[in-house]
Symmetry: C2
């Protein structure tokens, strides 16, 4: 069972890495870019036996306790069975 | 129009950051974890006027030229109109 977690900075938090990527893309001639945000993408490979509701609870817990800095970041996740 | 790009290390490439996260989760008592891979999640905010096929071509180009190291990383993307 795989859990895919998408973490990005909250919209009100400045993203210098995104700004740098945006500048790089413009230098390469890509003009249609308004904004770039760079975040993290985490794939967890979990034991198959865990019931879906329990897995969901566990992943939320992992995000809040370790993976996400909830002061400046927001997250979503998706579990494929 | 938003393009969401998901970048991760190829399966055969060692992921020390993923190993560290996996160790951290185990230390916190999460036992059901088999593997963790840490990648990047990039959200591009693009001009609305670009036709979907053209946007797709541009994002692919951006990935190959700047955003992804295709030697060790693989990517997928999704464009929301």
């Amino acid at each position: 069972m795989k859990a895919r977690i998408y973490i990005k900075l909250k919209p009100e938090v400045l993203d210098p890495q995104g700004k740098a990527v945006s500048g790089g893309l413009r230098t390469l001639g890509f003009d249609g870019i308004k904004d770039v945000r760079v975040g993290k993408y985490i794939v967890l490979d979990m034991d198959e036996g865990i019931p879906a509701a329990e897995a969901e609870k566990q992943v939320k817990d992992m995000c809040e306790k370790l993976l996400v800095n909830t002061v400046i970041e927001e997250y979503e996740f998706k579990i494929d069975t």
